[in-house]
Structures are given as C-alpha cells and as structure tokens.
C-alpha cells in the first residue's frame, strides 16, 4: 500500500473523531507551546544582560564606590594607571541624566561624564565629528558626543555635529556622533550622551562626585588579575571589603551565563514536565481510541489488511495529530513569546528548544499511537470483530 493511501486513511480516521483528535492535539499544543515560551523567557533574560555587559567593551573592569567616604579622585585615578599591572586606560565616570533640547525637540537621556578614553574603552566608533579631547576635559568645555539613537531621535536627519543644544538648560555644542552599536535596543547604549567628566562635575555642583571608574586591561588574563589587584588596593585603603565594588566584565559575563543556564534549565524542566503530561494525554486518548476502534481494525483485517498496513495507518494518524499539534504549539509558543516581549521581559526564541519540543511531541505521539494499535492488530480478526 502506498504511503499516500495510509495518509488518506489516517486523515479520515482523524476527521471521523474530531473531538478525540483535538483533545489529543491540545496536550501537545500546550506542552510544546509552554516549552518554547518559557525557554524563550530564559534566553531573553540571558541575552539582554549579556548584551548590556558586552556594551561595556571587552576586558573592562568597573569599580563602583560603595560608601560616602569612598572618593575616587583624579589623583587616585592617575595613581592606578601606574600601580595596576596590565592596564591600558583608567577613566573616571560620572553618571547623570537629563533633558536634551534642540530647537523645539527634546528627549530625556542618560548621560555620562567621561574622558576622551571612553571611545577606546567602550569600543565605539565615530559616525561623524570628533571625539572628546584632553583639552575638552581639562578646560571643562561644554561639548557632547551623542549616541546614534540620540542623533536619530532628536535631530531627525539633520547632521548634529556643530549644532547647539541645551542639556539641563545649559548650552552645549555637539562635537561628535557615535556609530550605532546595538540598533535593536530601545534604551541601550546608543541612547546615551557623553561629556567631559569635569564638565559634569561643574554642572552638578557639589554632587558631582566620581562614583565609578572604568579600567581597560590589555587582555582577558590581565583583566582578571587587575580585578584582583584592585580589590586588594581598595581593601588596604578602606580596611573593609565592600568599600568598592570591583566588577570585571568578563567574570560577570561568565557568571550571568552560568546563572542563566541554571534558570533556562529550570524553565525547560517545568516545560518538559508539561510536555510529558501532554504526551501522557495523547497516549491515553490513543489507547482509548484503539480500544474503541478494535472493530474497525477487525473489519480491515477481514478484508485483507496486513498488520503492518494497519500499524502504518495508526502511526501516521498519531504522527499527524502530534505533528499538527506540534506545529500549532510552535506558533502559539512563539506568539506567546512575542507577547511577553511586548509587555514584559525580553524573550529570545531558541531554535534548539523548538526542535526538541517538536521532536519529543512526535515521538510521544507515535509511540502512544502505535503501541496500542500493535496490540489490536495482533488479534485474530474474529476477536477484533466481536
């Protein structure tokens, strides 16, 4: 018997028992959809943290002050350049935010007071204009280098370089525009403006404290050694371990990846259980249906169907049900993932989880359809017909 015929017989079998087929499918749909949606949440969380960390630039160590008495002075920063081995750049960072206005347009934007080194540390490229300069920093000039998204949203096609803008009502000149780094992120680093940290200090008056230092090491190994050394330096200075929080980007990335692997595994386990329950659902319904359809099997055998022909029909039936359920499950799961992304945490669909969920659904469906059918097909026709 040709495959096409088995297919047709199987299709008729499904149509003849719509409710039963639908219920069996529902188990698969829920199982597959939940695997895909949950794993995508885990993946999304991992990716977004990873992206943020990556945006800091490679081999970067961040040091945060963790107490009112912990002051990072320009002298200390100069000192660190020589004391810490394997260091290429040390840069003070002052975080601030505010309103940026150009003509009648304005946006709220985060800002960072930095030095000319930020371009190298953060691995930015200029799309136009120039970088901040040593002179800008020394003379506290009111100049800005703006992120690509800022340029796009505020200037809307006009070249921002040379334009006058107001940042928190202070007049600034845009001297440079950065090339986009992460175009798909709405509030990413492309939506930030950079000014000399000295200018930021003056802008903020007494509050303009350097609370963060960025350090870029020559390589990955140097970075982790530098992190150790920095912890030791700050411990000696303040006699307590939590005076400064030293975070190496690469260590952090590893940690985040580790943490997220655990989380994704856990979500996958939860989803896997629901898939299993769905599988038991199909198995149950298939068992009932084969028992119900023993007579049908008897009739088919009476007119000369061979066991293998009956089996292949039931196998294809099960495969269609679980396959269709799987495909609908993929659609529902992906849809759910998109919805979550829209209204909640970021999500990222994983091809691997889609394939695993779909494959598992097919397998469970086929196994649960075939085992009882094999039992029925082995009956003598008279026994099946009774």
């Amino acid at each position: 018997m040709t495959f096409l015929l088995s297919l047709k017989l199987a299709w008729r079998g499904i149509l003849a028992n719509k409710l039963r087929s639908f219920l069996a499918m529902l188990g698969v749909i829920i199982g597959v959809a939940s695997v895909i949606a949950l794993v995508s949440v885990g993946q999304g969380a991992r990716l977004s943290i990873q992206r943020h960390l990556e945006s800091l630039g490679s081999n970067v160590i961040e040091v945060h002050s963790q107490g009112w008495d912990v002051r990072f002075t320009p002298e200390l920063i100069e000192d660190l350049k020589t004391r810490v081995a394997g260091v290429k750049y040390v840069m003070p960072v002052i975080g601030l935010g505010g309103n940026l206005k150009w003509r009648n347009n304005f946006i709220d934007t985060p800002a960072q007071g930095v030095t000319q080194d930020f371009l190298e540390i953060r691995e930015f490229k200029l799309a136009g204009g120039r970088n901040l300069s040593e002179v800008d920093v020394r003379e506290r000039r009111r100049v800005l280098v703006i992120g690509a998204a800022v340029a796009e949203q505020l200037f809307r096609g006009v070249n921002p370089v040379g334009e006058e803008v107001y940042f928190n009502n202070q007049r600034f000149t845009v001297v440079g525009v950065l090339a986009a780094k992460m175009p798909d992120q709405e509030y990413g680093i492309d939506r930030t403006i950079y000014l000399p940290y000295t200018t930021a200090q003056r802008l903020m008056g007494g509050a303009g404290r350097i609370d963060t230092i960025n350090i870029k090491a020559a390589g990955a190994k140097e970075a982790s050694q530098a992190a150790l050394q920095l912890r030791r330096i700050f411990f000696k200075m303040y006699r307590r371990p939590d005076a400064a929080y030293v975070m190496s980007r690469d260590d952090m990335l590893k940690q985040v990846a580790e943490m997220n692997r655990t989380m994704t595994l856990m979500l996958a386990a939860i989803a896997g259980i629901s898939l299993l329950v769905g599988g038991i659902g199909i198995m149950n319904i298939m068992l009932v249906s084969v028992t119900e359809r023993t007579r049908e099997i008897g009739i088919r055998k009476a007119v000369g169907a061979q066991n293998i022909q009956i089996l292949s029909q039931f196998l294809i039936e099960a495969a269609i049900i679980s396959g269709a359920g799987g495909i609908i499950g993929i659609l529902v799961g992906s849809g759910a993932s998109l919805l979550i992304r829209r209204f909640g945490p970021p999500t990222a669909l994983s091809l691997f989880s889609i394939l695993v969920a779909f494959g598992f659904a097919l397998l469970v469906g086929a196994a649960s359809g075939v085992w009882p059918a094999a039992k029925a097909a082995a009956l003598e026709p008279t026994d099946a017909l009774r």
Binding site: L5, R295, I299, R300, V303, G304, A305, Q306
Partner: protein, 254 residues
C-alpha cells in the same frame, strides 16, 4: 480426495474458553466443498454455523483438525499469508454488514482493493461497477449511516464482489433484506456461481437454502446431514424475480 476440493475441513474442532469453562462450538466437522459448488449451511442457533464460516474465511483458526483451502493447509500459514488469502481468495459477507462508518459506500467497497495495491482509477472503476451491480448507483458517496440496513448489506456484498474472490462466504446474507432485495442478492450469487465462484452461505430460511445445490445441516457442533438439492427443486432467483411484481432492473430502494 484433497486437491479436488476448494474448501476442505477434516475433523475440525473449535473450543472457546470462557475463563475456566470450555465451550465446544465445533466438535469434529469434516466437509469438502468442490470448486464452483453452491452450498447452504443450516442449523439451529448456536449450532456452530458462524464458527465454521469464520474458520473457512480464515478469520479464525481451528482448535484442532486440518483446514485446506485450494489444496493448501491453512494451519501452516503465517498471519501475513492469511491476510493475503482473505484479501484475494475470499469475499466474506457478515450478518451485521461490518462497514466502516467513517468511509463512503464507494470507499468501503474499495477497501480490499486498497490493501491489495490496486491503482486508484482501476479501484474506483471496479468498486463502482460492483455497487452498480447491486443497485446502489445513486448511493456511491453516502455514508453507511445514511443507508438502510438492506442497502448497507448490499454495500458489504459489493465489497466482497469487487475483490473478485474465488470463494464467497456469506453468514446470513439475506437476513436483513426484504424478499425482493434478498432475491436480487441470491440472483447475484447464482450468477457468480455460474461464473465458477464457490459460494457458501448460512441461512435459516429453507427457501433461501433451496437456491443452492447442496444443503449441509449442523447441530451442536456436528454435521447431521449433507444433501443435494434435486435439480427440479432448486430455485432460480432470476425466474422468481421475473415473477415478482414491479420488476425493474437493478431495483433501487422502494
């Protein structure tokens, strides 16, 4: 004897087990039916007629004894070979139709041909032909649920005929048909028999039995008589149909 018989059972027994109780349905039946014979099997209810037919139709295996079909011992055949015999050699007509409710009449008739691997067009042609022959030209696409009992039985008969079997085994084939429809079935059987097909049918009706050339009577799992029907007593379905009022070719439901 042997090869001269189309169907031959020797000391065949069948014992059903109901838990610990053994129910002997056949207690040693020996019978030979020659190619081209038309035989009626009669006997009281529970005498083992259906049991015997099931064994002859390879739907069940005997508990003891030997069954030879066309000279070949059936007991030695594999499930696969038996399926092929049911498919090609035997057309079985059941007391309760045994149609698949989810298929149309046409598809039901195609079923044995499907399992034989007959190409779709040829299959359809043969199935239609068989249904037309049984007066169901207007019912090809109907589901069995939409057909009367008599029509369903005729679909079942068409299913057996479409497979062009060597032997037709019918367990009370006319039991659910009115006299005219029953007579039409018997006419088909006699026609097929004249073409050389061996026909064995179970019936309670002596008048139906008289359409065959031989009557075997069972009682309590044994053969109690085996008689020829005298040529002058044998009924011709064609002649009877001609005498029935309102005769119309291929008679649709009235």
């Amino acid at each position: 004897m042997s090869a001269a018989f189309m169907l031959e059972v020797e000391e065949v027994t069948k014992i059903y087990r109901l838990g610990r109780i053994k129910v002997p349905a056949l207690r040693g039946v020996t019978l030979g039916i020659r190619p081209g014979e038309m035989v009626a099997v009669m006997g009281p209810s529970g005498s083992g007629k259906s049991t015997l037919m099931n064994i002859l139709g390879c739907l069940d295996r005997p508990s003891g004894g030997v069954y030879r079909l066309d000279g070949e011992e059936v007991g030695k055949k594999s499930d696969r070979e038996l399926a092929s015999i049911r498919n090609r050699k035997i057309g079985f007509i059941f007391q309760n139709f045994n149609l698949l409710p989810q298929l149309t009449a046409l598809e039901n008739v195609e079923l044995p041909l499907i399992y034989r691997g007959v190409p779709a067009r040829e299959r359809r042609r043969r199935a239609e032909e068989a249904l037309v022959r049984l007066g169901l030209k207007e019912r090809l696409r109907h589901s069995p649920r939409e057909l009367s009992g008599g029509q369903q039985q005729r679909v079942a008969i068409a299913r057996a005929l479409a497979a062009q079997p060597e032997v037709i085994l019918a367990d009370e084939p006319t039991g659910n048909l009115d006299s005219r429809a029953g007579e039409e079935i018997l006419a088909v059987f006699q026609e097929l028999n004249a073409e050389g097909i061996t026909v064995v049918m179970v019936t309670h009706d002596p008048n139906v039995a008289r359409h065959s050339e031989r009557i075997v009577r069972l009682a309590d799992g044994r053969i109690v008589s085996d008689e020829r029907v005298l040529p002058e007593e044998r009924l011709s379905a064609q002649e009877l149909l001609a005498k029935l009022p309102g005769a119309e070719e291929g008679g649709e439901e009235k």
